[in-house]
Amino acid sequence: MQRLLALVLTGLTLCAAGLADAQVEQSQTPMTRPTLNFFGLPGLIDTPTATALSDGMLGVTASRFADQTRVTLAFQVLPRVTATFRYAILGGGFTPDDSPPAQQYYYDRSFDIHWLALPEGGWWPALGVGIRDLVGTGIYGSEYLVATRHFGADDQLAVTAGLGWGRLGQRNPLGQPFGARPPIDFGRGGSVDFGQFFRGDAAFFGGLEWQATDRLRLQVEYSPDLYRAEVADGLFRLDSPINLGASYRVGSNGTLGLHYLYGTTLALSYNALIDPRRPAANTLVTAAPNPVVPRPRQSTAYSTAWTAQPDGPAILRDNIMRLMAEDGLEFVGLALEADRAVLRVRNTRFQFESMALGRAMRILSITMPPSVEVFEVVFVVEGMDVSRIRMTRSDIEAQEHAPDGAAQILERARIEDATRVRDPGLIDIRAPEAGVTWGIAPYVETQLFDPSAPVRADLGLRADASYSFGSGFVAEGELRARLTGTLDKARQVAGPVASPTAPFPVRTDAYRYLQESDVRLQHLTLSHYGRPARNLYSRVSLGYLERMYAGLSTELLWRPVDSRIGIGVEVNHVRQRAFDGGLGLRDYDITMGHVSAYVDLGENFEAQVDTGRYLAGDYGATLRLSRVFGNGWRLGAFATLTDVSFEDFGEGSFDKGITLEIPLGYIVGSSTREQGGTVLRPLLRDGGATLNLRGRLNALVTDYHRTRLHDTGGMIWR
């Protein structure tokens, strides 16, 4: 999470530098690239249109008018489904109802979903359906049916008409086609209030959009939203239902908009589209690899006399280690016989795993005596031998420059569990297993879209060290010293739940850790990673596991190297840590854990279901769905339901959120396995809470399994 800010800042800088202009421009019309409205969904200004972004695109928007700021993140989850997360800041002592304001600004977080039910084609218009504020407090609650048709040789003109409910059904309602709308239940928010959707007054909305020039678009719309609460609090005045807008495309992916709203108010907006599939920087500029060195052709068998050469092993090891250091790969070991070599590699550099594989194989072709025909690379992660990839040297020599050499070499390779076959025993060279790594670096820790402030951040220094004892044992620790920041201003917004059956404050106390520790032990653990049997991986961690909990964590994962399914079991016994970040403990302890099913759904979607006991002792299940891009981008959503009732959970009703991971290499254009990520939650509360463990097995090992190696296969000769 602390890396997000760095990523965002770097990302913005790079965008500003106009790097996106390196991208080949594609034609952009209101159809192929719709305008994003103030809600962050395809639309005009305040109203929607029946359009969609290109599949997989992200849209970031910001808009401001009349002391109201909205920041949104939209994602085209599926070709026809757009989802949006919105954070709104309303000033002027706004409250959604008659209650007096609790603070100067009102912060609202909400999710929308928009479905392009029928794309435009032939004579008929596109049809869309959307629900705004699906699980929030309902201040933007509205639903709509919308139709859009494009006209003109280049689809320059878009005509939209629709029917809206909720906020979109306020002006000149046409009636209540699906019955009355029950009153908004602000109580806890967070749950999907199906009773409200498409109920109550329905009203007409519509508008026109005209692509005036390549970069300029003009909008006019009729919006039935009366902004009742905003008007009541004196934030805003409406004289007319007509909104006017002009938007101008800046660079290849940004848009600036100027709008005149409801006959009274000027508004500014900005949006940027990000295609996770198109890197922000020039794609990887990692130095060219060492080429394959083919063997001299000869009709007789290659000599194996080298196996008896006394200094042979040392020479081979030195050559391999030198070349691997050049490529940034870590040498773990080499096992040899006359015709077979097994190279153990730790990849701490290449985000595209097959790139590490291709480079390791080329190093073998440079260093191995000609009689070695079978090359195997075993990827080692946290001391575990994960997968073993076997290729013949002849294939490597033949496919290096072949037009479809990347696909061919992987087709011919065998990817199997590293424990499946024995290693050759003639020569066995191991790098020393024991060793220290350490580092001192700055860190930025952020809290985004908190219910009491949009952004809070700390800047500090962190020192981390790890010591490998060998045989899979590792001791790791990290110390953090906060230099400056605002995280200590975090507070518990929605107060403790007064119910006697409410869960123990296992996470709502988090703010106390931020307030009461300037220097803290982030984590300090002794861990063991192992391979108890084929297809099985194990982890045991003991110590200060995370900021808030210390104890013992154990995990066992079954995941065959070529399987789309994995099953994991995690059992932990933990005790809450003292607020000051030291070694002390509090008197709350719990045994908890999960059985997890990991499913690769194909088409770049992954699912994970965890069932078990959570930190507060509640029982339940978590469902996670993620969309994973070949370049490492990962966008997901999760929800947890446990036996903690919605009332006892408090605001939000149950735990849910969205996750975002961006590989650093996407932004800086060099090879690195670092990535930035964040979890956006409406609220972190005590029901359905889990441990923030480092080194969970599934993510560690599947990077080197068949699916990922094939997904990154295009990089093998890079």
């Binding site: 390196a22 990887l284 130095a287 080429p291 290096e400 479809d404 790594t437 580092g439 001192i440 370049n631």
Partner: protein
């Protein structure tokens, strides 16, 4: 990643930058980001106020060529506003691999037709240029097809077929390292299925090898001019 002029010392050195903040641990994203940004700024400044002229095939000093051992090639990259020297580092069948001091590399066949690039960013991953290569070595005009493979943003290979017309332009004299060399010029006009067009120029010696050529790499990188200073 601007390229500086060919420099003697740089030829042999393979530069690799370590980006750890301090210590032996992993790369630190903040530090990587800052260094990267600084790199871009200095590059931009360097490009604006460049004092050393970019070396071209015509302006490479013969003394410089003589001072460097082994096979040598000059690669001019208009999109980077620079040029670099490369040495031959590999030979696999008929394909030669060349590499420069700044991490750039390329592969070409025995007739000098570009097959792939590495370290440029939007690289040409691989190609099938057998028809072009055969026609060039025979100085034969006519239609040839070629396949070129690039990666999309998700690193998936995208193969495109280009239909090309080779034209024999006839004898041409060009300056290489201060010497006028008489060669035969051929031009290859290519068009992809999506309408994308590019043009390659080849100056061939008697053996049918492209001693000097301007060849297309990718839409983002554009073309490179390759001059064989010493085979």
């Amino acid at each position: 990643m601007a390229l500086t002029a060919l420099r003697l010392a740089a030829i042999a050195a393979v530069v690799s930058a370590s980006l750890a903040a301090c210590g032996t641990g992993r790369e630190n994203p903040i530090v990587v980001g800052l260094l990267d940004a600084m790199d871009r700024v200095t590059d931009a400044r360097g490009a604006a106020g460049a004092t050393t002229p970019v070396l071209t095939a015509a302006t490479v000093p013969p003394e410089l060529v003589a001072a460097l051992p082994g096979p040598l090639m000059l690669v001019e990259l208009p999109s980077f506003d620079g040029s670099t020297g490369m040495t031959r580092v590999g030979q696999n069948g008929t394909v030669e691999t060349w590499r420069g001091p700044n991490g750039l590399g390329l592969a070409r066949d025995q007739h000098g037709v570009l097959i792939s690039t590495r370290g440029f960013g939007f690289d040409l991953m691989s190609s099938n240029t057998a028809a072009t290569s055969a026609a060039l070595s025979a100085r034969r005009a006519g239609a040839v097809a070629r396949a070129m493979i690039h990666l999309d943003g998700e690193a998936r290979p995208q193969s495109r077929i280009y239909q090309c017309q080779l034209r024999l332009d006839g004898p041409d004299t060009i300056a290489i390292a201060g010497t006028m060399v008489g060669l035969t010029k051929m031009t290859e006009h290519c068009q992809g299925q999506d309408g994308y067009r590019f043009e390659n120029l080849y100056w061939l010696d008697r053996a049918g090898r492209a001693v000097h050529s301007r060849q297309w790499i990718s839409p983002e990188i554009g073309t490179a001019t390759l001059t064989l200073l010493r085979p």
